[in-house]
Structures are given as structure tokens and as C-alpha cells.
Point group: C2
Chain length 190, copies 2
């Protein structure tokens, strides 16, 4: 248990980490209680609606975390090609050999719950839209048209979601490296 965080935040942080690694259904509330060291009563006090409510908070937490990670890489790199290459190379290190792969940010939960929990699906959609907004903004800064910027943001996001899935499944950073190398072609201005 991280002593610096409030119990509610510890629960959210622990849930986020476990959901990333094992998906929504693969994590029980008891796992979260055990890993966090927070008593069961507190979990139900902060999240009276239970696992679904905690999952939505975890998705919001992960969304913000990923937004910070993207912004940290993007800051100071004005060229979109360089910025996206840096972003994907950074991911290839996290998910590659010697990295510390922590699972797909929210892709697994989205895949599991899109048809069985509308509140979770909507939280995932909101995260996807927010990430894509940062991407769109970067393209607009690089003088791509509005239409191109929106479409390329979707394409880059799909590439990154798929690349993370391939990296996790193949236990290798190579799929993300291959993606980073192709980015300049994809981002040629029409």
C-alpha cells in the first residue's frame, strides 16, 4: 500500500494496474483488496456500486495517465512525424525486452465489455476520443488540414492499440518498432 495516497486513490491505482494486466473479468474485488491492502469496507464505502463503478474510475485514471505520457513525449517536438515516431519508440521500449509491460491501457476492458456494459463502453470511448484529440491537435499544429488531422489521429490510434496488443502477445517490442519506422510514409501530406 502506497502510504502517500488516500485509500480511494490507492484502490483506483491498484484496480487500474490489475485491469490492464488481466482485463476486467480476470480481476476480482478480492484481488484489489489484497493487492491494495485497503479493507473491504472501505472499498464498498468509496465504490458503493461495486466493480463496475471502480472500473469506470480506473479507466478515467488510466486515460489521464496516458494523456500525460503522450504530452510528455510530444512537448518540445513540433514535427508530427518526429513526435509520433518518438511516441511509438517510447512504447516499444516499455513493451519490449527489458521493459515493464503493464498490459494494454484500456483495450482489453473495451474488448471484453463493449457489448455487456454500456457505462464501461462509454468510459472507454471517452478515453479513446481524448487521446485522439491530442493526436489531432499535433497534426493541426503541423499544418495538416482539419479532415486529415482527424483521420490520421484515428489511424495512428488504431496502429498504437494494435501495436501494443501485438507486442504483448508476441512478447516483443518489434511490432511497435516496425510501426514507428513506417510512420513517415503514413504521414506524407496529400
Amino acid at each position: 500500500m502506497n502510504e502517500k495516497l488516500k485509500p480511494k486513490d490507492v484502490l483506483i491505482e491498484t484496480a487500474s494496474r490489475l485491469f490492464r494486466l488481466r482485463g476486467y473479468c480476470g480481476v476480482g474485488l478480492n484481488d484489489i483488496i489484497e493487492e491494495s491492502g485497503i479493507p473491504k469496507g472501505s472499498l464498498y464505502y468509496y465504490f458503493p456500486e461495486g466493480k463496475e463503478q471502480l472500473a469506470i474510475e480506473a479507466i478515467i485514471h488510466t486515460k489521464k495517465l496516458v494523456m500525460e505520457e503522450i504530452r510528455t513525449v510530444f512537448d518540445g517536438i513540433s514535427d508530427p512525424i518526429d513526435a509520433f515516431q518518438a511516441h511509438v519508440y517510447e512504447l516499444s521500449k516499455v513493451f519490449g525486452e527489458g521493459g515493464n509491460p503493464v498490459g494494454s491501457p484500456i483495450g482489453t476492458i473495451a474488448g471484453e465489455k463493449h457489448s455487456t456494459s454500456e457505462p464501461i463502453r462509454m468510459a472507454c470511448e471517452s478515453a479513446f476520443r481524448d487521446w485522439q484529440s491530442i493526436y489531432t491537435e499535433k497534426f493541426l499544429e503541423g499544418n495538416y488540414t482539419e479532415q486529415q488531422s482527424t483521420n490520421l489521429a484515428i489511424v495512428l490510434h488504431a496502429l498504437i492499440e494494435g501495436g501494443i496488443l501485438l507486442a504483448l502477445t508476441m512478447k516483443s517490442g518489434k511490432p511497435l518498432e516496425a510501426i514507428a519506422e513506417q510512420i513517415p510514409l503514413l504521414l506524407i501530406k496529400k
Copy 2:
């Protein structure tokens, strides 16, 4: 229960469908028994090692199904750009409005189990490699170099996995349409 199939095949087909829709952990053996109409005893007769064994057979089944789907689209389209665009537009129809989205083929299971079941992870990796082989072959036929063909196959596969995830989460075929539109740029020969 489909009367034309053998019980073992009905179980595999039912399990494949449910795993695609709700992931590995979201489906219990009882769901498979109920949906398939096959008695519990038969399930344990054909799959004495239980759910993990059935999941691996389901992954192999889905792998073959997807390979047939890709080959059906690719046959008769010799240009890789046209072939991949047709493939992704086809997916945009399945996953878009009025389509019949059946979940990610095996992306969700891969996301859930990559760190907790090595046999399932390996079955997913094998499916991914086989799909990528068809893609690689298509590029080689289009006179891309071996290196380019292998790398582009990975990139296209990541795009498609990510595009399916986005389509399911956003309940829209638009992410896959945006991807199809960008394919010509990505496949410019260096």
C-alpha cells in the same frame, strides 16, 4: 444447436463466438453448455483439461475462419493496395452500422491471458503469425522487398486489430473506413 455439426465442433464453434463477444473470463463453461445445447459430460469428454483447452481449440478455429475470410477478399485482387483496402472496407461493414459485429477475433483473449496462460498466449501468437503470413505473401506478390513485406504485414495487422477495437468501442465502422482511406499512402513503395 446446429444439427449438422458434431458435438465437439458445436462446442468449439459456440465457445469461439462467445469468447469473441465477451472475452475469456467473461464466458463460463455453463454459458457454452447452455448456448450449444451439448451436455456437460460431453464437454468434459472432449475437453478433459477444461476451459483452457477449449479456448485453445476456439483460437485455432477462429484463426482458420479469419484466414479464409482474408483469402476470399484477396483472391482475384492482385494489387496489394486494392486488396488491403477491400479487406478493411469489408471489416468496416461487419463492424459498422447495420453490420453484425461479433467481437474481436482473438484480440480480447490475447489481451486478457498474455501474462496468465502461456498456452493461450502461444495459440494467439500463432494465429497472429499465420494472418501476417498471408499479408506478407500479398506484398511479395506485389513486388515489395522481403523486408518491406514483413514489416508492412505487421503494420497492417496492427492497424486492423486496433481498427476493430475502435469500431467495437465506438459502435461505428468509421475508424475502419478512415484506415482503408489511408492505406494507399502507407503502401507507397520506398
